[in-house]
């Protein structure tokens, strides 16, 4: 079955109207980097597709306390936006240049693991996601957005409109272990942010990618870090906790065994980078 219609709404309202009309019968596509190969191969055969390139969702807006990034903002724009830590590097970790010109911030929320190189950084920055349908908007924490492998809290008539990132406090680090230097799938990605109170850790974020059904926070590791001086022992304990709580898988890139082991190593290195 070939796709009967491809619509490119010119505004968010128009997009939400279409979504209201067609609901789950409408495939939403931003950059096309995930959906187009599946459509070309016939794996996905959507009757209707809505593209977001013209819906006015490509922006980076600085507000008082946070930065709002439109869902259809190309990753290249994130690479070039220096107002937030972690994100330029995280966006650059995705694909090659052309892919980053096409792939979007919102799209990365729907990328199957071990993709999700941007999301892991957003998690460490406590980002939220603005969802909207034709009637209302809601904002959910990114950490609560995912509900399982390729599953999330989005309702059939809802659209991811933007990602909101609060101006972050603390020190951050992002490390990606891939098999190559660039344009490489992730073995494990770690983003971390440490907020200090004096010399002690007041708040810790340890986010993992590539070692679970979706990018996730290592909450046990985070909890263990609070109150420590982020010394070697604390880092080792948190790294071990993260390795324990991740839910890795095997794929052509790496085995579950290796991913779990590397979760400990890379978390440890990321935290050591912050400590230094």
């Amino acid at each position: 079955m070939t796709t009967k219609a491809y619509n490119l709404p010119e505004s968010l309202d128009e997009a939400l109207g279409m979504l209201a009309q067609y609901g789950s019968n409408l495939l939403v596509m931003a950059g096309g980097t995930l959906a187009m190969p599946l459509i070309t191969k016939g794996v996905s055969q959507p009757e209707r597709v809505m593209g977001l390139r013209r819906a006015g969702l490509s922006y980076v807006r600085e507000t008082g306390g946070s930065v709002a990034i439109g869902a259809a903002t190309p990753l290249t724009q994130v690479v070039n936006y220096k107002g937030l830590p972690l994100l330029p590097q995280a966006a650059h970790n995705i694909g090659g240049w052309a892919i980053r010109n096409m792939g979007t911030v919102g799209g990365n929320l729907f990328a199957p693991p071990p993709a999700g190189d941007l999301v892991v950084a957003l998690l460490a920055l406590d980002a939220s996601v603005k969802l909207a349908n034709a009637r209302r908007q809601r904002v959910v924490p990114l950490a609560g957005f995912f509900s399982g492998f390729m599953a999330n809290v989005l309702e059939p008539d809802e659209l991811v409109v933007e990602v909101q990132v609060p101006r972050p406090q603390g020190d951050t680090a992002l490390l990606k272990l891939g098999r190559l230097h660039t344009d490489t799938p992730t073995v494990v990605g770690v983003a971390t942010r440490i907020v200090w109170e004096g010399r002690k850790v007041k708040e810790a974020r340890v986010a993992l990618n590539g070692v679970g059904p979706y990018p996730m926070r290592a909450r046990k590791a985070e909890a263990m870090l609070v109150g420590t001086a982020l010394d070697e022992a604390a880092i080792a304990a948190a790294a071990a906790a993260a390795a324990g709580e991740c839910e890795p898988f095997s794929d052509p890139i790496a085995s579950e065994w290796y991913r779990r082991k590397m979760t400990g190593v890379i978390v440890s290195r990321a935290l050591a980078q912050v400590a230094a």
Binding site: T3, K4, A5, L8, W97
Partner: protein, 173 residues
């Protein structure tokens, strides 16, 4: 099914095509318009050989629905080639043996063109980074990187091509 007319500027010329929904630019360029320089390597955005420029930005034509380029400037390798002779990048690829089978070449040159338009004097690292989404199975990349370096401003274009740079060529009969 609702075919649409899409209008865009292809290599400087106003172009109009009738497409079915989600027809990729790869199909439009090759099968509808006969612009064969844009190659097909994977149809999933993983090899880079189908790279074209849309408003000067590299994009993968296998992932790009034609409807998305409505009103925009599209450049393919055909658009780079002057009537008489070669674009400096083409010349540099030719002179530096940066092609073997030639199948990745169009994508490599298009990315290099965009890079030099954005940044006329890139470092080697910036060149490598720009080319990172493009695979080549024949050359081992060095001649391609070298070809871009030759054209980049601020590089010593008199540095000889790779064959003459051989460190130590010893001929014993």
């Amino acid at each position: 099914m609702a075919s649409k007319i899409v209008t865009f500027v292809l290599n400087g010329r106003e172009t109009e095509v009738m497409v079915k929904p989600l027809t990729t630019m790869q199909v439009v360029l090759r099968d509808k318009l006969g612009y064969n320089a844009t190659k097909v390597g994977c149809k999933e955005g993983a090899c880079g050989t189908c790279t074209i420029l849309v408003d000067g930005e590299p994009m993968l034509s296998c992932l790009l629905p034609a409807e998305d380029v409505e009103g925009r400037q599209v450049t393919t390798l055909e658009g780079l080639t002057p009537v008489d002779g070669l674009h400096p990048l083409q010349q540099a690829f030719f002179d530096n043996y940066a092609t073997q089978c030639g199948y990745c070449t169009p994508g490599m040159i298009m990315v290099a063109k965009a890079l030099l338009d954005h940044n006329p004097s890139p470092t080697r690292e910036e060149i490598v980074d720009a080319l990172s989404g493009n695979l080549c199975r024949c050359t081992g990349y060095e001649p391609i990187i070298r070809a871009v370096e030759v054209v980049a401003e601020g590089q010593d274009s008199r540095r000889p091509a790779m064959a003459e740079r051989r460190r130590d060529k010893e001929i014993v009969r």
